[in-house]
Symmetry: C2
Subunit: 445 residues, 2 copies
């Protein structure tokens, strides 16, 4: 897990603020949920695989109180677990959303449009671009099956990445086409395994995918369909394979979904949308359109999402259809850093440092800080009478653009020295003039 220094925090905050403002432009409202949830809530959805990724929190006090002697003696960590741990750290923001909606259903206005920007944890082996603590920025609409929601979420993707300056494509598919493929192959019961294997296409290539499908018991029909979608290079919706998929009812509805979404999207955004029938998305709960954001030259997605029909079903509220997207803050940060996309101006840092010359003038110079700060200038006064060189080095190290030097002579005459740290220029002026110079040159709001 990582520490973030001032520069990183501010750059991450820049991304978060951009995402937040676009979410709000589309009418999404923020919620926040606790870091810990009951393990029964967190386990609700995932199988053993996702259970492994959970950080579990020991019960407080004597956590062995309720432990069974037998489990202890056998060192059976699986059976012992429910007796010593009841809570875990959330591993995504979707499960807490489902729990939240069910718990607060009577206070909420549906369709419920919420966004949530918080960290999540996975007990994964850390690797490049993957962290055990990372942030998700999610927006979801619950209680509406209108495809207008999909269109708006795609527009949100487009707007955020445009504002951040990241070039990307929005890959669009629907789970219904995957269902159509297993139906055409007569393998309706193997949808999950089909999805999981197809999801690996980007990483392992088509030959290896066919091999895995073969091992998993799929047939020649499946292989043909998968090869056809993988090789399709242009207009998928009018391709041969699309016509085949349209022979099933599910496939037909899926193609209608994609056509409807495309018909509603504005022209600018449409140019970034790629219908991609190979897009599978790992997660089980998607049932309709799915999206993924890919940036050229960057493996892994910068964002993703999709429609689910029964997210809150596990928590006793069936029949709520929803659709959501998620931005991957850490990966977006990495891309922006690689491509040098962060704005260079940084208005969050100290704008002026007052030098601390001697005991005699300390109090008088210190009073100037109050005056400067009242005008909104981010101001520091060096707290001790360190050597001038050291104080100047402090300004340099912190990238403070201006320094004010005021010894007893300057204070008496009312003419202080202002030094521009970038070009080394110095000028003498009274404090009012200095304030207006600082405000002008910094472009303070």
């Amino acid at each position: 897990m990582r520490d973030f220094g001032p520069e990183q925090v501010q750059k991450r905050q820049y991304i978060i603020n951009t995402i937040k403002s676009v979410f709000e432009l589309y009418g999404f409202m923020p919620i926040e949920t606790p870091v810990m949830e009951n393990l029964t809530t967190l386990n609700g959805k995932g199988g053993e695989e996702s259970d492994k990724l959970l950080f579990k929190v020991l019960n407080s006090g004597d956590y062995l109180k309720k432990a069974e002697q037998q489990h202890l003696e056998e060192k059976n960590y699986k059976s012992l677990l429910p007796n010593i741990s009841e809570k875990g750290l959330r591993y995504d923001l979707t499960v807490p959303l489902a729990r939240y909606v069910v718990m607060h259903q009577n206070e909420l206005t549906f369709p419920f449009k919420r966004y949530q920007i918080q960290p999540v944890w996975r007990a994964d082996r850390p690797q490049k671009g993957r962290y055990r603590e990372f942030w998700q920025c999610d927006a979801d609409v619950l209680g509406s099956d209108s495809l207008l929601n999909e269109v708006e979420l795609i527009q949100i993707f487009a707007k955020v990445f445009k504002q951040l300056g990241i070039e990307m494509n929005i890959h669009l598919n629907t789970r219904k086409l995957l269902v159509a493929m297993v139906e055409l192959s007569g393998k309706q019961d193997k949808l999950t395994s089909f999805t999981v294997i197809l999801d690996k296409l980007d990483k392992i290539g088509i030959d290896k995918v066919i091999e895995l499908l073969n091992e998993a018991g799929f047939n020649a029909k499946t292989f043909d369909l998968v090869k056809a979608i993988a090789n399709n290079s242009s207009d998928f919706l009018n391709s041969e394979v699309a016509k085949q998929l349209a022979q099933t009812e599910t496939g037909k509805v899926g193609l209608q979904e994609l056509n409807k979404i495309l018909s509603l999207i504005d022209d600018e955004t449409k140019q970034q949308v790629k219908i991609d029938a190979t897009l599978a998305r790992g997660l089980d709960y998607y049932t309709g359109p799915i999206f993924e954001i890919k940036a050229a030259g960057f493996s892994g997605s910068l964002g993703s999402g999709g429609r689910y029909d029964n997210l809150t079903g596990n928590f006793g509220l069936p029949g709520v259809s929803g659709v959501g997207i998620s931005f991957g803050l850490d990966r977006i940060y990495d891309v922006m850093k690689d491509q040098n996309l962060f704005p260079t101006s940084n208005t969050n840092i100290t704008q002026v440092l007052l030098i601390n010359f001697d005991k005699e003038t300390e109090q008088q110079v210190f009073q100037l800080t109050t005056q400067l700060r009242q005008t909104g200038l981010k101001t520091e006064f060096y707290p001790t009478q360190a050597k001038l060189k050291k104080q100047m080095k402090y300004a340099n190290d912190k990238n403070i653009p201006f320094v004010i030097l005021a010894g007893s002579r300057e204070l008496e005459s009312g003419k202080l020295t202002l030094k521009n740290m970038q070009n080394g220029e110095q000028q003498e002026a009274d404090i009012k003039t200095i304030i207006s110079i600082l405000k002008d040159s910094i472009g303070n709001e």
Copy 2:
């Protein structure tokens, strides 16, 4: 632990943004540290008491792998712990700061002024105003023993609470006066126990404090001193008891500290500062000036802080003096809610809802949303053709101030209906006029 809905999140954000902007005005820069720290780090400072408050995270996978059979059989949860858990959730932001500074010491510029606004966790019994998950907003200066830092931190307190509209007093003391009291009593070895007992004065009253001091082995001299400081009602610095404390070297230095701080503070802030020799602060590590913010009619402090001389010593970096303050977000929220201090205007909510009349006009009306959003107006389009009443209720429930009604007749004529949801007034206008009406009435930035 608590969920926060949209209104709460936005109000909390308002407080956080206020604190943040003042921290930055004084040259503090943000850092963020992981939620989990090694238990060895977290335990470094506290005794068994603070250890009890830690949420401990089970090691991943087979957490019993390294467990000793004997500890398991004896159900010895204390001895077993180090073998099954290596990490815990941070319980404050001070320990992570110390760890951070030691770890990154070569990259940092000293004096190091950082702020940190993040949640912390304590496995406490929840009670009013006390939560198991809560936020701290800390600012600290490390590597400077100048009292100017104390003065600036006091000014930060004053500025933040002024901006929030909260009336409060800044109680100021120094640990050195407490040291002087135990020295005068000949009980130098009992400083911690003296501090812990004195810290309860507000809650249990003077008689009970004397009783506890008696039980803890203090003497008549201590009782007299404590009674004298508790009864002192006016000018403490010139009181009899202050003169007594000045007889010890530590007491003398302590009084000089307080005088120096007062001499540097601006007049407006000084009016809110109360020298309070009974202020003790619970934490062990303070060695110099200490502060606490108290609001009339509200028990418990809204903020606190103090100077420590050896925070990083435990982590191998001795001799770094620092001073810091912390705002209690949750309590500030409670006070502001009680006193109705939150601004009523809320610019974060959706500003206009477009009604979705029928399939025929859906696409055309949907395109208006893009136009509205491009001007920065927070806009929603109801995603289905629900009954008008239901759509209007949606706007009402979400406090959306304006609704646009555009059926095929309106779209044809170019005159849309704009309804003000607060006064019920309706007017017909083209989209450009509507946009300027909305921008004017909402005072959009």
